[in-house]
Amino acid sequence: MKLNIEGLLVYFPYDYIYPEQYSYMLELKRTLDAKGHGVLEMPSGTGKTISLLSLIVAYQKAYPLEVTKLVYCSRTVPEIEKVVEELRKLMDYYAKQTGVKNDFLALALSSRKNLCIHPEVSSLRFGKEVDGKCHSLTASYIRAQHHSNPCQPVCQFFEEFDAVGRQVPIPPGIFNLDDLKDFGRRKGWCPYFLARYAILHANIVVYSYHYLLDPKIADLVSKELAKKSVVVFDEAHNIDNVCIDSMSVNITRRTLDRCQTNVETLQNTISRIKETDAAKLREEYMRLVEGLKEANVARETDIYLSNPVLPDEILQEAVPGSIRTAEHFVGFIKRFLEYLKARLRIHHVVQESAPQFLKDIYEKVCIDRKPLRFCAERLRSLLRTLEIADIADFSAITLISHFATLVSTYSKGNLYDYDFHQKTPTIANPVLHFSCMDPSIAIKPVFGRFQSVIITSGTLSPLDIYPRILDFRPVTMASFTMTLARTCLCPLIVGRGNDQVAMTSKFETREDFAVIRNYGNLLLEMSAIVPDGIVAFFTSYIYMENIVASWYEQGILENIQRNKLIFIETQDAAETSMALEKYQEACENGRGAILLSVARGKVSEGIDFVHHFGRAVIMFGVPYVYTQSRILKARLEYLRDQFQIRENDFLTFDAMRHAAQCVGRAIRGKTDYGLMIFADKRYARADKRGKLPRWIQEHLTDGSLNLTIDETVQLSKHFLRQMAQPFRREDQLGLSLLTLEQLQSEDMLQKIAQIAQQA
């Protein structure tokens, strides 16, 4: 249908529309008009992605000079591919309606592992291996060697792309990962570099967060994206953690040992080159004197050696004299390494800020801040000069140099903390954690550079916390509910067992026999009444292991097996994938199954349980993060000092967003239905409940706040029976599903205005 969104003609590739989609587009348009940032929460399964795409593409077509590019960031590879498929649907609809051939170029970008078509390289299993092998075939000096010595193997696909592909722009169209590979195979060009090159002139780019948020990658890939782009972060409820992860470093003794080996290799290589090709080193020295700008040549393929700091921090000055020659630099690194080794020898926990660390290092080994800042850049130059083929071997020294650069760059404002701690009391295994406290550091350049950044997800409640922790000022903040013709979600809070013992994963009582038994009974009872699939989430992996073991001893699991098959997430991703597939198989063939899983785990973040794959989700306990961790404590302190966010508020917010993520996995649309069972009495408190997304909160009645297991079973039975009745389009039409005429009625437009709740 063709919609009129405040004067903008939007093509929407469906015959019907949900009211909240219209409302969402309205808010989105206002955000784009204001050229500002937005935070939008809309439940999953209400067609968020297609609404986003429809509106932004329409905006791009209407005002090609205002918005030149859409950068759509999602979290997982399947999500990325889904977005591109939805986009394809939209573009097909455009072509059909207007009769004009599509002139948009849209493409997905992913790591080499997902795009490589080189027969040898692509057969490798792990991303890192693929990257390393690719590098050893495409690095600039390898190619230079190939010039003089044709026996040196290079990647034919890259050579072909470099020779021909750059001149011929990729034709308009929608290119998913597989399409890119097909295209690459047809032309004989490398799809990965083709895609990286093509994102500069593509109208729409879909890739993962890291390409914008991790400075090491963003610097290489996303550096030249135009300012007039709209950036969308979908599934953004965890964006702060992604930001922090990309700027944090952990160093163990093993890292240092490997770094030691790296240093020795470097030393040997330097002395060898000195004898054979001293001119090369001199040349490098000269280059460094002139400044780093020159070092930019042929950086495209040298991905490992990127700078960990952000673009606006990239140094304008020349490398300080003390580390300019290769030997001096290696000596410098050695000194730094010895210092770190000495620090890791201690036997108690230390926690200090970056300036303290810098002060200490200056006093003990006379290392200044300035050369430390250049470490990463200097190492990059050296490795290229020495023509090191297998960069993957040098990950340890790279890590150390990144640490050096980070600790000296972001010392102001006490952004970094680090500590030493021992894993086990018997074996000293100290780790140096250098952790970023402030997620806004990584995302700041994104907000600064692009005119509109949209942060959206199914669970962003409470909305106001994201602008605070990410430090930006949005022009719109809105939460949309799901309009429903039938209440297809049923959140219940189970607070006690039939024996009236309180059910909670609170630290003091979580190992209580009664609590564990009651949790078991809840699952057992539910397994008897819920059809097909049940997913249960625990607060942590260790807790799940313990509970499973005691359920096994008490024979609860065996009784559950009478009703359904049991599959359990393990810490091994491959094993869990298999369990997941079997779980789906068992749901599919009618046996029914239970999946025991962990909040914050891979399953809770990336896998949807649509329809019969998840008729009930049980959240055992409140998934608080492990609060005894020093890193977390430091972060909480930082949040309190910098943003005036109370520790408890943040912890609860964090726990509730993960709980919402878990239970939200079951509802993936309006024709879907599912029970959401919160098995912890603490959920009933206003401060917890209030942090759930609005679309879940709305359906939490006072009568379902502190139920026993029996009451839960009764309510669930009732709900499931109602939901099992046939649900037709006519039931939805006019309420939660609209035709164009219905949408245009005055009445409906007024109703729609109430869907969005401004924060």
């Binding site: 498929e85 993962s208 074996i427 065996e558 491959a574 869990t576 369990a579 891979k602």
Partner: protein, 560 residues
């Protein structure tokens, strides 16, 4: 075991086991276990005073070990029971156990059969309303007994048929079958495990390695009992206990399971949407991130408890996967032949012409994931496409198998074009038309009531008789037909059994005529409908009576 020649008359009387000196109601006698029933006869007589079909037996009970009297009790479905006392002092226990063992093997077979028969009857009645009506008319109103009703019906259709035809659905395996053998303490430092044939089958189907061990070791190396005792003692059964290193015969099974699990894991998953390994696009390099560093080579510093916990988890995953696989296996076996058939037939049929393109799994899953079926218009609704092996046959309907008369669509098209062509050049030759009288007589003959439209008169019964009478008549016809079928099937009357039956059927027919047909006739008369509605029915009955009369007089003559 000896077999008594006097007792054998047919296959079903084949004696499987004879036990002498078995007392029943304080009377000495001999117990016979035959193919379909168990029987007991008192000493010195060649008649059975006790005889039960296996199908009638619900279960057997034995007296506990150590009791003075060694007994075996059979409980019937009706609730009655019969007790046998094994009285041969030297071999009593052995006799009793032999009987028990044999019964144990025999009873389940018959139990299934009995249930299956009932189910089958039930199903037939539910699926076939006509049969159900017949059943009501004849059995419920007690014209004939249920046994008579089913006597030749079941064999006609399908109990054996369906069983032999592999059409029955395999029963899956309960995931909790191991729970059913929960040990119970017997009060004196021992454990008792309950094993049934069902559980053993489940174990074998789920864990093929155990089955292999079983066939390797039983009975050459150990008895069955010993095998299962060892099984329950093994680490394999108690997977939460860490292997103690003791070599038992099942340690190899555990290893093979481990291997199987590993290969399952390395095979990876087919559905890319659940592949957690490729979920993440760009993982952080080692050493980055806030997550705690995974302790390297951590198995050593994991506690024993943690290890056993993860062993339990592994075991549950493996167990569920195996149960699921065992369930799927029989489905595959069942489907396999039909699949093959469809494939071979498609080579000569033209279904390939449709050029059906199977999109790769990933594409399908992606499309599924982005689909909103309620937003889509009706055009998006999925329909099942007709898969035609021979589209010609579909458009022409079944044609006689004479290849030269078989017209393909091409033939039809050409013939149509020929006819069109002829019609275009058709010129009426007005001098050679039929005479007007011949034409009008032909028209009369073809009009309703005409010579060629005689059949049309029959249709009037539709209009003459009200529908309720019609349906009643229909039922009467059916019931009469059924009874007559029974009656006529007795001829030629060659055995005493048939003689008995034919007499009975004759009286049934008479009963039918009195209780069903007469009231109907009276009813018609009251409604002033033509009475010859039932004429044909009466004729049929009369024919049967005549036949019976003839047969009876002939028999009387032979006897005198």
């Amino acid at each position: 075991s000896e077999s008594d020649p006097n007792l054998i008359s047919s296959e079903s009387y084949l004696v499987l086991l004879v036990v002498k000196r078995v007392r029943q109601r304080k009377q000495d006698g001999t117990l016979y276990l035959m193919a379909e029933r168990i029987a007991w006869g008192p000493e010195g007589k060649d008649r059975f005073t006790v005889s039960h079909l296996y199908a009638d037996i619900r279960c057997q009970k034995i007296s506990p070990d150590g009791k003075a009297k060694i007994q075996l009790q059979l409980v019937l479905h009706t609730g009655e029971s019969t007790t046998f006392h094994f009285a041969n002092e030297s071999t009593a226990l052995k006799d009793r156990d032999a009987t028990k063992e044999l019964l144990q093997q025999l009873l389940p077979k018959f139990k299934k059969k009995a249930n299956k028969e009932l189910e089958e009857k039930n199903r037939m009645l539910q699926e076939d309303p006509v049969l159900f009506q017949l059943y009501k008319d004849l059995v419920v109103s007690q014209v004939i007994s249920a046994e008579e009703f089913w006597a030749n019906r079941l064999s006609l259709s399908s109990v054996e048929h369906s069983i032999s035809n592999n059409n029955k659905q395999e029963v899956g395996i309960s995931a909790a079958f191991l729970a059913d053998i929960r040990p119970q303490t017997d009060g004196c430092n021992g454990l008792r495990y309950n094993l049934t044939t069902d559980i053993i089958e489940s174990i074998f189907r789920t864990y093929p390695t155990v089955k292999q061990k079983y066939s390797e070791n039983v009975p050459h190396n150990m008895t069955e009992k010993e095998f299962w005792t060892r099984f329950f003692q093994s680490h394999y059964f108690h997977r939460d206990r860490i292997s103690t290193g003791l070599q038992d015969i099942f340690s190899e099974c555990a290893k093979q399971d481990e291997k199987g699990l590993k290969s399952m894991v390395t095979q990876g998953v087919k559905n890319p949407m659940v592949d957690l390994l490729s979920l993440e696009d760009k993982t952080l390099d080692e050493g980055y991130g806030t997550a705690t560093v995974p302790t390297t080579s951590n198995s050593s510093n994991k506690s024993l408890r943690e290890n056993s916990n993860s062993a339990i988890i592994k075991r549950f995953n493996h167990h569920s996967a195996m149960v699921l696989a065992a369930g799927l296996l029989c489905v595959i076996f069942r489907d396999a032949p039909s699949d093959q058939a469809s494939e071979t037939s498609s080579t000569d049929g033209n279904s390939r012409d449709s050029d059906f393109f199977q999109p790769p799994l990933k594409k399908v899953k992606l499309q599924e994931a982005i689909e909103y079926d309620d937003l889509q218009g009706d055009s998006g609704r999925k329909t099942i496409s007709l898969n035609l092996k021979k589209s010609d046959r579909y458009s022409h309907g079944p044609t006689p198998l004479q290849s030269q008369h078989y017209t393909t669509s091409q033939d039809i098209i050409t013939s149509i074009s020929i006819i069109q062509h002829e019609m275009r050049s058709y010129k009426p030759r007005l001098t050679q038309v039929m005479s007007s009288s011949a034409a009008s007589s032909a028209i009369i003959a073809l009009s309703p009531g005409g010579v060629l439209m005689q059949g049309g008169a029959q249709q009037t019964i539709n209009q003459l008789v009200p529908t309720d009478v019609q349906s009643e008549l229909k039922h009467l016809y059916m019931a009469a037909g059924e009874l007559l079928r029974h009656f006529w099937s007795c001829f030629p009357v060659s055995t005493p059994f048939l003689e008995e039956k034919v007499v009975k059927m004759k009286s049934n027919l008479e009963k039918f005529q009195v209780t069903k047909l007469r009231p109907f006739q009276e009813k018609i008369q009251r409604q002033y409908l033509s009475t010859n509605l039932t004429g044909h029915l009466e004729e049929m009955l009369q024919a049967a009576y005549n036949k019976f009369q003839a047969w009876q007089t002939r028999r009387m003559m032979r006897k005198t």
